[in-house]
């Protein structure tokens, strides 16, 4: 009797080891990337003559002008963005999930995830700037402006335009993650129950489904929080400049001609880590308060049937996000074919294909590399995520183990210093900058997002399906392939599309690890965007946005085709 049990234990142990090993292989470069900033932050970087550990660079950092204000602005932007995005998505889901409006908005919003942050930020800037499209539309007829007014917009000191730009991008992200989790919830039943009890749509959803839904999107919410606290490209385009947010200043220091500024940059990257930590702690506090409020609402028994106004506002906000980005992209498109287009003309004075013709031929090779990187890294990441979740699920149904949390670290570190640390590692390993090393780094950045969007639906899948299959004598692998994966195909496709679009928009990792030898649409776009020509930005933003757009289109349409005979699978 004893033997088979110990054998079982052995198998379980081996399985656990494989799991740990996998997480280690993936986690090690991330740890090295962190070491790559921690060591220089404390003064250790032999190449620049730093061989002794010191706290000098932190003192230097503290002496930087306006460093506190820079840190706080970033923190506030992150919290405001996350609050705004969660509130909009939450209210909209509560108000409309299961209605016809919902599926219409769903198809409107999903493609937005495809638009790279920088492109969306440019789109917004092209719209709202004093010389932007919106003011051109009404000038000079309504405003009397023959020349753009001196409004400080974008780049306003309160960072409102930056928060707006981030919210328009984070709402689709959270919305899509929530969408992937939604089929696991008893939506119709809860709706019927709460309606029968006399609850309004919002309050009914909040007391019955929101806690379970929030649990599923929680990691994505933290990713949004960390991302918007540490974002660089959107901050450059829309954020306050005097002083800039901390991540933007780190980016400037890492690119400083004074090479010793890299010590300072590393110290600042650690500070940024602290800011991120503070943001997370504050968010935990907000979560606790929200839970108390929800508990109060539940126990008070209030039905809150008059919720038309907040519902309308959430629907308006989510449509406005879509409208702003679509209109902005249309304006980007108009600029890409514009000749001279002076203020206050609402349309270009002349149209020309010159920009496209000039840009397309050098764009082809970059497009191929971009596609190859995105397809491979997303596919690998999806495979790896399935493997990890499957093995983890077999070993411990309790959810995320500590070493899995390691994978989320790339989302918790400012990209710029983390990648600088990785670059040192890859070069010292004697690896040539090549397609494969860039692919490996893309994979590192893509995997967390894929895992993020897949983990929650994976865990929340009703276990009875698999129990039934196991009861019918199916093996673990058969259950995975013929029960779990088909049931989760929408979630898998969404995760793949998320990974694909993350890869498409990766700039710094591609540039630094590829030593600039691998050109992608993202590196080309950012290099050209530093030239500020709206026409060329228009071309690249359109190309960059159209790639993931295709992926999301497939992710949202394929289930409709695959399951045209299975109604419950299509929602």
């Amino acid at each position: 009797m004893g033997r088979p049990i110990s054998k079982e234990h052995e198998i379980a142990a081996r399985r656990l080891n494989a799991n740990t090993l996998l997480a280690l292989i993936l986690g090690l470069p991330i740890l090295a990337g962190i070491a790559g900033i921690i060591l220089p932050a404390f003064g250790y970087m032999p190449a620049l003559g730093g061989v002794r550990f010191t706290l000098r660079h932190f003192a230097e950092l503290a002496g930087q002008p306006h460093i506190l204000r820079s840190s706080l602005t970033g923190l506030a932007v992150g919290l405001a963005t996350t609050c705004g995005a969660v509130a909009i998505v939450g209210t909209f889901l509560a108000g409309f999930a299961g209605t016809p409006i919902f599926s219409r908005v769903q198809h409107l919003v999903s493609p937005l995830l495809a638009v790279p942050h920088a492109a969306a930020a440019f789109a917004l800037a092209f719209l709202v700037a004093p010389s932007g499209f919106l003011l051109r539309l009404v000038s000079p007829e309504l405003t009397g402006f023959l020349r753009p007014p001196q409004w400080l917009l974008p780049n306003d000191p309160l960072a409102l335009s930056m928060v707006a730009g981030l919210i328009t991008k984070e709402v689709p992200f959270l919305f899509l993650i929530a969408l992937a989790a939604l089929p696991q919830l008893p939506l119709r039943q809860s709706r019927q129950l709460t309606a029968a009890l006399g609850y309004g749509r919002l309050s009914g959803f909040l007391v019955s489904l929101w806690p379970a839904l929030y649990r599923q999107i929680r990691l994505a919410v933290f990713a949004v929080l960390v991302y918007s606290v540490s974002v660089v490209d959107v901050a450059i385009i829309l954020g306050p400049q005097l002083p800039a947010t901390l991540p933007m200043r780190i980016a400037q220091w890492t690119a400083d001609h004074e090479l010793r500024a890299r010590f300072l940059a590393s110290a600042a990257a650690l500070l940024q880590l602290g800011v991120v930590l503070a943001a997370v702690l504050i968010w935990l506090l907000i979560e606790r308060l929200a839970r108390l409020a929800l508990a109060w609402l539940t126990y008070s028994g209030r039905r809150l049937r008059n919720d038309a106004v907040p519902r309308f506002i959430s629907a308006f906000a989510i449509t406005a996000c879509a409208a702003l980005i679509f209109l902005g992209i249309a304006v980007l498109g108009a600029w890409s074919v514009a000749g001279l287009w002076p203020f206050p003309r609402a349309l270009p004075a002349e149209l020309t294909l010159q920009t496209w013709l000039r840009t397309l031929s050098p764009l082809w090779p970059a497009l191929l590399v971009t596609m190859a990187l995105a397809l491979l890294s997303a596919a690998l990441a999806l495979l790896c995520a399935i493997l990890l979740l499957h093995r983890n699920g077999a070993a411990d149904r309790g959810g995320d183990r500590p070493h899995h949390r390691l994978l989320y670290l790339p989302l918790l570190l400012p990209e710029i210093s983390f990648v600088f640390g990785l670059q040192i590692l890859i070069v010292s390993a004697g690896l040539k900058p090549a397609f494969w090393s860039v692919l490996a780094v893309h994979f590192l950045f893509v995997l967390p997002y894929v895992l993020l969007s897949l983990a929650a639906p994976w865990r929340e899948l009703d276990p009875r399906f698999e129990r039934v299959a196991a009861g019918l004598g199916k093996s673990q692998r058969q259950i995975l392939l013929s029960v779990r994966l088909p049931l989760l195909s929408r979630a898998c496709l969404t995760a793949f599309a998320v990974g694909f679009s993350v890869s498409i928009s990766l700039y710094l990792p591609t540039l630094l690890i590829g030593a600039g030898r691998l050109t992608t649409i993202a590196t080309e776009a950012v290099a050209l965007s530093s030239g500020g020509d709206r026409r060329v930005i228009g071309v690249y933003a359109l190309v960059q946005a159209s790639l993931p757009f295709l992926a999301f289109l497939i992710a949202s349409l394929a289930p409709q085709l695959l399951f045209r005979n299975r109604r419950a699978m299509r929602t």
Binding site: L242, E258, F343, E350, F420, V427, D533, R535
Partner: protein, 408 residues
């Protein structure tokens, strides 16, 4: 026995050492360089923010491929410091050959930093290039001194640059234009919100600060030396007094700044700015040709002179394709490549060659270039002011950020 072993090891080391010497490209032995370069791929790290410059580099790459069998890959940077960062990271990892950067477009503080950290291929290769004989190093001192730092042949000149202002003659009459830093301040008082400069540490923005510093500093000789910390506050006082007055008159009252000079170009077209500037005298003409600026834009300079400098090509110490990089640098210095570069329809970047040293045919080709409607003739460009020591740039940038970095 032991002695013999030692001798063998010595011989082997010598042989290895010699082998190392032989593979390191020596510009003095040009035939060997060209032979070695054949089949190499040169990763040329250059700012990629301007499509006409990118097109020019593509052309040069094609020519070098067909003539010398050297492949050229343009690594498009948004900031040259990124290439420096790559070399630093490689040095940190002990990678002293097989580096990722073969040739880099560089000048000023990036060059100073790479030279100081010993990150450059040397000794003197630039003056041994075959086309060096055409270079005007007699009347263009900036060819040998990059922001007062002696180049010592560690970088090869590629093009000249001069600070030139642009305005739209349809909006701003020629008679109103300022002719000095002081007049510019008066003009800004009369036209608030219509002038600005790219936010330092942007290269062009800092150059504007240097232009004002040169005009206002008491003792100009000080600028040729590193900053004297003891007197810096007094030396820079006139500059910051000037900026204190100018800032509230800037675009957005100095609460935001343009990102870089192409951004200013866009803002001139939008009507947000009335006077802008760039480091390329042909910038306006090529922008008109591209439909970025209206036909009515014209150039002007200060009669007292504007900042002038030279930009260069350098090879990192650990470059993989040194021979190929030498061949490309030499080709870019050839009269043919320099002529094409100066054509405003292509790029419009002034040559570093002395017309007097060229063949009659090449000379007349240069003289017959149509520089474009908005470009000043060489004799209208006014005197060139020398770049200060890079130290000044660093200090002024830091001081600028301290004073104006939190305008909101």
């Amino acid at each position: 026995m032991i002695g013999r072993t030692r001798k063998i090891i010595m011989a082997a080391m010598l042989a290895l050492g010699l082998a190392g010497e032989a593979s390191a490209a020596d510009a003095g032995n040009w035939g060997a360089v060209v032979a070695e370069a054949k089949g190499q791929t040169v990763y040329f790290n250059a700012w990629g923010g301007s499509e006409n410059i990118n097109a020019y580099i593509r052309w040069a790459g094609g020519e070098v491929k067909s003539r010398y069998g050297v492949d050229v890959v343009h690594v498009k940077l948004d900031d040259t410091a990124k290439a420096v960062a790559t070399v630093v990271a490689e040095k940190a990892a002990g990678k002293s050959d097989g580096g990722a950067v073969d040739l880099v477009w560089i000048n000023g503080e990036n060059f100073a930093a790479m030279k100081r950290e010993g990150l450059l291929f040397g000794p003197d290769w630039a003056t041994k290039l075959p086309n060096w004989r055409y270079v005007d190093h007699e009347t263009k001192p900036t060819v040998l001194k990059d922001f007062t730092i002696p180049t010592e042949g560690l970088e090869s000149p590629w093009g000249g640059a001069k600070l030139v202002f642009f305005h739209d003659s349809a909006r701003t009459a020629k008679a109103e234009l300022p002719d000095s830093a002081a007049e510019l301040l008066n003009w800004a008082e009369a036209n608030p919100g219509r002038f600005s400069y790219p936010q330092p540490p942007d290269f062009t923005g800092t150059s504007f600060l240097k232009q004002v510093l040169i005009a206002l500093i008491g003792d100009k000789a000080k600028l040729q030396k590193p900053v004297d910390e003891a007197t810096f506050a007094t030396d820079a006082a006139p500059l910051f007094a000037y900026l204190d007055k100018l800032t509230p008159l800037l675009w957005r009252q100095g609460k935001a700044y343009p990102q870089n000079y192409p951004d200013m170009k866009q803002k001139l077209a939008d009507g947000e700015l009335d006077i802008i500037f760039a480091f390329n005298p042909a910038e306006a003409s090529s922008a008109i040709a591209n439909g970025e600026l209206p036909q009515t834009v014209r150039s002007f300079v200060f009669s007292g002179g504007t900042l002038g400098n030279t930009h260069f090509l350098a090879i990192p110490y650990n470059a993989t394709a040194k021979a190929g990089a030498l061949v490309l640098a030499d080709f870019l210095l050839s009269p043919e490549a320099q002529l094409r570069k100066q054509d405003p329809r292509i790029w419009g970047d002034p040559t570093v060659l002395a017309l007097a040293k060229l063949s009659a045919e090449d000379r007349s080709a240069f003289e017959n270039l149509d520089l474009g409607i908005a470009t000043l003739k060489p004799d209208e460009l006014g005197p060139a002011l020398d770049e200060p020591h890079p130290d000044w740039m660093t200090r002024i940038e830091a001081e600028w950020i301290r004073r104006y970095g939190a305008a909101n």
